[in-house]
């Protein structure tokens, strides 16, 4: 190992002289041996694994101990090959002894003639030294060349359980690029598929005695096994219940026009439908085919559990100390207070708002119209007041279905309580919209032009005198009434936007709880080797003449990538309108629906 260091100062420019000595002969071929660290202390035997000729690398999976009968070893390996589809074969010999014995080394070389494999790897370890020696025997070398050997240690159990996430641009590669495919993916695949090989180990009574990661103790958990057995009847019961519930939901009774309109507007129903879908995914009897499906199921399950737990917590907090009663008692005064504030606002608008001069007659008409609405609304609220507490009590019980359901109910309650603001917004917007269209059309008439519907463009047109006269009159009237309508529109739009923002925040929270992959995050926290972004190598102590030793460890995925890869899909789309088009709609008086759900027809 040659070492050299040079200092570069930030202030002056120095060109330090440095030489790097390179070795005299550049090796032509590099052979990589991936050796499991659990076999480092195994007794002497045969190396069993998979040889990848394209990468010139050998992946050692297990060590077969003496005594063995070669025929039985070959038979066992061919059985394993059939089951796992991995080309497992005897790759070489492994000797772990106190000092080099001549007889043993001859015996090991003879084994090379029985199990012919090209190339034949001989790994030798002396008990008190940490540097191993490795030699390769090639029977028919095509060209005379020197081999450099790199020994890479890997943790077999972790590599077997881990799932590799290739970087983004490689996930789109198609099958014909298989030879270019990640070499690491092949390594991980090989170890993962060889599970059958790891079933038997050297403590079993059988002709073959193997050492691999299970030799340190076969791992199993009673709880996991019990849960696996119990999950089958539970799944069947759940499927039956869910089919019953979904058949009720799909029944014709609930599809009549007023009801189905209400269901589509309430966010609680959407959320409940979403959760029902999730339950159906979990309770299906088919096993997950591949890793993303398994992670998805697990994420849905953990997310549901967390949701229900938080919901029950909320419920226990609400029902203690009669908080529901307090809530119901404060609801009516709050609604009254909101109505009173609105009435004050309208009185202000009917007077001289912010020093602007309004058209008296129109002002009074609009103001009285809206005041009457508020009066009606307050009467309805007061009519309902005796039943509020009971309704709230029963509605609060539904929080046990999950925190998301409780939040959706809250959002719906806010929508219902501010329904009058929504009505005012719609009236104001429609009036304003009519006015704007009227004005633009009459402005065109004023200039002698007309909108050609067929050609979708503005054309010149000759009008009669009386048409022009009436048009100009109407234009003037609309123009001078514009400030009043615009002010009412502005005030109610702002109020509506405030309510939309509050509802939007609640929806954001619901979406966050819905889509967060809790199981993946917990897995990344506790068993970070299961989600691998790649590998990292560390160079271990070297000795000249011995092969290069590297330790391969798993590089876990970052939390951001975990959330991005395993996010659960949600049902709502965020506002697709850009700010520009939103402003344009507001200016023209078109109604805005910022939160659209997937599957709804576009307005």
């Amino acid at each position: 190992m040659q070492m050299l260091s040079l200092k570069a100062s930030g202030g002056q420019d120095q060109t330090p002289k440095a030489q790097v000595e390179s070795s005299s002969s550049i090796p032509m071929v590099v052979l990589k041996v991936f050796f499991p660290s659990c076999c480092s202390s195994a007794e002497s035997g045969l190396l069993v694994g998979h040889w990848i000729p394209e990468q010139n690398s050998a992946v050692i999976l297990a060590v077969v101990h003496f005594p063995f009968i070669p025929v039985q070893v070959k038979q066992y390996l061919s059985e394993v090959r059939q089951v796992t589809q991995v080309n497992v074969s005897v790759l070489g010999t492994w000797s772990n002894c106190k000092k080099k014995e001549e007889s043993l080394s001859e015996f090991l070389e003879d084994l090379g003639t029985i199990f012919s494999h090209e190339p034949w790897i001989q790994l030798c370890k002396e008990t008190d030294s940490k540097f191993w020696s490795c030699s390769i025997i090639q029977k028919h070398p095509s060209t005379p060349k020197e081999d450099e050997i790199i020994l890479v240690y890997y943790d077999q159990r972790k590599v077997m359980l881990s799932h590799l996430h290739p970087p983004g641009n490689l996930t789109n590669s198609t099958d014909h690029k298989a030879e270019d495919a990640s070499k690491l993916a092949i390594l991980f695949d090989t170890v993962a598929k060889s599970k059958v090989l790891f079933m038997k180990d050297r403590y079993d009574d059988g002709p073959i005695k193997l050492t691999h990661w299970q030799s340190e103790g076969v791992e199993a958990s009673i709880i996991v096994e019990l849960m696996k057995q119990a999950s089958i009847p539970v799944c069947m019961l759940l499927t039956f219940l869910l089919s019953f519930v979904s058949s009720v939901c799909k029944s014709r009774v609930l599809k009549f026009w007023p009801l189905c309109f209400i269901w589509s507007k309430l966010s609680t129903c959407e959320q409940l439908g979403h959760r029902l879908e999730h339950l159906q995914v979990i309770s299906s009897n088919r096993k997950a085919q591949n890793q993303p499906q398994l992670m998805r199921k697990a994420n849905i399950f953990v997310s549901l559990l967390a949701d229900v737990a938080l919901g029950i917590l909320l419920m226990s907090w609400l029902y203690r100390k009669n908080r529901i009663g307090h809530l119901a008692d404060t609801l009516i005064p709050v609604a009254d207070h909101v109505a009173k504030e609105l009435q004050d606002l309208l009185q202000w608008l009917m007077g001289v708002p912010a020093g602007l001069k309004m058209n008296r007659a129109l002002d009074q008409v609009l103001g009285r119209f809206f005041l009457y609405h508020i009066h009606l609304w307050i009467s309805y609220i007061h009519l309902m007041s005796p039943f509020i507490e009971m309704i709230l009590w029963y509605v609060g019980l539904s929080a046990c279905l999950g925190l998301t359901v409780a939040l959706s109910i809250l959002s719906d309650i806010i929508a219902l309580l501010t329904f009058h603001i929504y009505c005012f917004y719609v009236y104001g917007a429609r009036l304003y919209c009519l006015k704007i269209y009227g004005l633009s059309s009459l402005w065109r008439l004023f200039r002698g032009k007309k909108w050609n519907v067929l050609r979708q463009r503005v054309d010149s047109c000759s009008y009669d005198l009386d048409q022009l006269f009436i048009g100009t009159l109407l234009f003037t009237i609309l123009l001078f009434l514009l400030p009043t309508t615009a002010l009412y529109y502005l005030v109610f739009t702002l109020l509506r936007l405030l309510v939309v923002v509050v509802q939007g925040l609640i929806h954001l929270l619901v979406d966050l709880i819905d889509s967060l992959p809790l199981y993946s995050i917990l897995l990344r926290l506790c068993r970070s080797y299961r989600l691998a972004a790649g590998v990292k190598f560390r160079v271990l102590e070297q000795k000249t003449g011995k092969p290069l030793r590297l330790l391969m460890q798993i590089n876990p995925l970052s939390y951001g990538s975990v959330v991005q890869t395993y996010r659960l899909p949600t049902y709502s789309c965020y506002p697709k309108d850009s700010w520009g088009s939103l402003c344009k709609k507001l200016f023209l008086g078109e109604l805005i629906y910022p939160w659209k759900h997937k599957g709804e027809k576009q307005d």
Partner: protein, 181 residues
């Protein structure tokens, strides 16, 4: 003896004929600047306390200083950056932070097209940086991504040239290997 303040050190190690490691060590955390930052935050907090007579300000200042220090050491201050090149496996970049955390990225050799020194014009000066060119899997001749190296320690051209020469020697080996196979 050179001043230790403005120094960065480059260390090249050759483990075997096809494996080399280059590490650049940045200047360590300066006690002077840490104390200056802490003192200024505490003085500001004390001044606020005198104004408002609220002792929460002082505890908030202590909290902020501690959290800020931990965040700085764990996420911002990079102590050492190293590059490990293994001809048949790939190139690995490691940054180690002052708190001991290490951030590693490994790029396989099949994705690496070349290692070059790029010139860039930044405001009024020309800077040089070493970068890895990655191959596009669909079109082997084009470059899909450029990965810059030694972003935080920013060694100068003389260091970069040494690292470049060593890297090129190793990369040539894989060309000769692929030609013989």
């Amino acid at each position: 003896m050179e001043e230790r303040e403005d120094c960065i050190a480059l260390q090249c190690r050759q483990y075997s004929a096809s494996c080399r490691e280059f590490s650049v060590r940045c200047q360590p955390v300066q006690l002077r600047s840490l104390s200056a930052a802490t003192c200024s935050v505490w003085l500001a907090a004390y001044w606020l306390f005198v104004l408002t007579q609220n002792s929460m300000v002082l505890s908030a200042a202590i909290f902020i200083t501690l959290i800020g220090l931990i965040v700085y050491l764990h996420f911002v201050k990079i102590d050492q950056e190293s590059l490990l090149v293994i001809a048949s496996l790939g190139i690995q970049m490691t940054s180690s932070y002052a708190s001991g955390k290490e951030n590693t990225t490994f790029i396989e050799m099949s994705r690496v097209k070349d290692v070059v020194i790029n010139e860039a014009i930044y405001m009024q000066k020309v800077i040089y940086y070493l970068c890895i060119l990655l191959r596009d899997p669909l079109d082997p001749q084009s470059v899909s991504e450029v990965v810059p190296l030694f972003q935080s320690s920013k060694p100068r051209l003389d260091c970069l040239v040494e690292v470049y020469r060593s890297c090129q020697e190793i990369l040539e080996q894989r060309k000769t290997v692929s030609q013989t196979l």
